[in-house]
């Protein structure tokens, strides 16, 4: 009898697989995933893979009234450690006897993870389906599939912890169903007692911090720059002028999103004597395209196929006065 019940359960499971989700449902779920990653306390080890390269990292993450605190320590290769407190990050490179404190750009502060309008476009661009259940790192997870509706984006597969909605694993998949980039917890403990001592840097520091307050970006502007031939499903979510280290002039930064990934366009004046550049590069799921436009250098970066960054880069035009 027991095995009959088990069989029925199995077939039910199979029936649940690839059930399309209503737009509203999937949007809610993605919201919860973003929330969980920042609002939960957890500690564990995850692997990050892109192309043929895999590496493991230990993570401690505490969320309390004062915000997010975290420590990441690399387990492969040279030891490195990152301590996060709110929007401040400290990088430790003990082998190099150095450390750097960096504050994230102000542009990000208060920027909601997923804007409602971004999420609304999601269902226009992806078929969202439930993909069944799987046990991962000791936890039960629901699988969420985001199948792209065209060639301008990759597919996504998300493993979401059943009780807390913490993302336990995520993969980006090409149109040939090849995994381009993925991360996965190999062990994790969600919630429970947390020893704050685990948030302290363990690598010996031999030098005081080298401060690197990145100049605040975030001057929201109407730059006059536009993307004429925007790939379907992408909408502009940010436009600003910001300063970067080593550049004496401001750079225009436009951001477009299809609800799940973003593409950034950076536009800067060509410096006297500088050679205009043109080319494509890829790292894992991130494609990059540089292209000159008139007296400006355009750089496009996004977690999309090459065609997307290329089409955007090729149609950047100035329409201001």
């Amino acid at each position: 009898m027991r095995s009959v019940v088990f069989l029925i359960c199995l077939s039910l499971n199979a029936a649940v697989a690839a059930t399309p989700l209503q737009a509203q449902e999937s949007i809610q779920l993605l919201r919860k995933i973003s929330f969980a990653a920042h609002q939960l306390t957890y500690q564990g080890t995850f692997i990050f893979q892109r192309d043929a390269q895999i590496e493991s990292t230990r993570i401690y993450h505490l969320a309390d009234q004062s915000g997010e605190h975290g420590r990441l320590i690399s387990l492969d290769g040279p030891a490195r450690e990152i301590i996060c407190n709110g929007d401040e990050m400290q990088f430790y490179y003990p082998d190099a006897r150095s450390m750097m404190v960096e504050r994230q750009a102000v542009a990000r502060r208060g920027f909601p993870a997923l804007l409602p309008e971004q999420l609304q476009t999601l269902s226009d661009n992806y078929q969202v389906e439930e993909g069944g259940q799987e046990r991962l790192a000791g936890y039960d997870s629901h699988i969420l599939l985001l199948n792209p509706k065209d060639g301008y984006r990759y597919g996504h597969k998300l493993w979401v912890e059943a009780a807390t909605n913490l993302l336990l694993k995520a993969a980006m998949v090409s149109d040939e169903n090849r995994v381009i980039e993925q991360f996965a917890f190999t062990s994790i403990r969600i919630g429970g007692a947390f020893d704050r001592a685990l948030l302290r840097a363990t690598l010996p520091v031999k030098a005081p911090p080298l401060h690197n307050d990145r100049p605040a970006g975030g001057d929201v502007i109407q730059s006059g720059w536009e993307v004429d031939n925007l790939p379907s499903g992408f909408g502009k979510i940010a436009e600003m002028r910001r300063m970067f280290r080593g550049k004496a002039y401001p750079v225009t930064h436009l951001v477009y999103s299809d609800g799940i990934v973003a593409v950034s366009v950076f536009i800067e004046p060509l410096q006297p004597g500088a050679r205009p550049m043109s080319g494509v590069a890829r790292q894992g799921a991130v494609n990059l395209y540089v292209h000159p436009e008139n007296q400006y250098q355009v750089t496009v970066v996004g977690e999309t196929p090459e065609i997307t960054v290329r089409q955007i880069g090729d149609s950047v035009v100035y329409k201001g006065k």
């Binding site: 005081p208 950034s264 970066v301």
Partner: protein
């Protein structure tokens, strides 16, 4: 004090001495420390010396040639400088398939060499700036990509 800071930069102090010195350092001293690092960077790689230096720093570099005495330039320190200078960098070591456009008049191999060099140096900050706005990054536990990319940097 300056001498001690200089020793610190050269990694000639250890354990307790470092702790004592750090606790005594105030703003001016921190500035000095930063300055020595920048000087080291300039010595190591004059071509790539960052353009955003304070005028004050430049003045001191010119005025204090003794700081640049070769005996001070420990190998370990130079390595430290190169790592610190580009921390937070999403470095492009792992990038593949950089190529010129199909209609490029420049032979592909030449184009590749030129681009890789120049592009590397300018894109680190762009990649980080981009990531701040990626909805997908927001769903993942903090800074996955960042820690991974610092690996690329320090592992090079």
């Amino acid at each position: 004090m300056r001498e001690e800071i200089s020793m610190l930069v050269d990694a000639e102090l250890d354990g307790e001495d470092v702790a004592r010195l750090v606790s005594r350092m105030k703003d001016q001293e921190t500035q000095d420390w930063l300055l020595y690092h920048l000087i080291g960077e300039a010595v190591r790689d004059p071509e790539g010396f960052r353009a955003d230096l304070d005028v004050d720093c430049r003045a001191v570099i010119v005025a204090e040639p003794t700081v640049l005495a070769p005996s001070r330039l420990h190998k370990a320190r130079l390595y430290a400088l190169s790592a610190a200078a580009s921390v937070a960098a999403v470095f492009l070591v792992g990038w593949v398939a950089l190529q010129g456009p199909a209609d490029s008049p420049v032979p592909k191999q030449v184009a590749q060499a030129v681009h890789l060099d120049v592009i590397k140096s300018r894109l680190n900050d762009y990649l980080l700036a981009h990531q701040e706005f990626s909805p997908r990054s927001e769903m993942m536990p903090s800074n996955i990509r960042t820690v991974s990319d610092t690996y690329q940097e320090s592992g090079r």
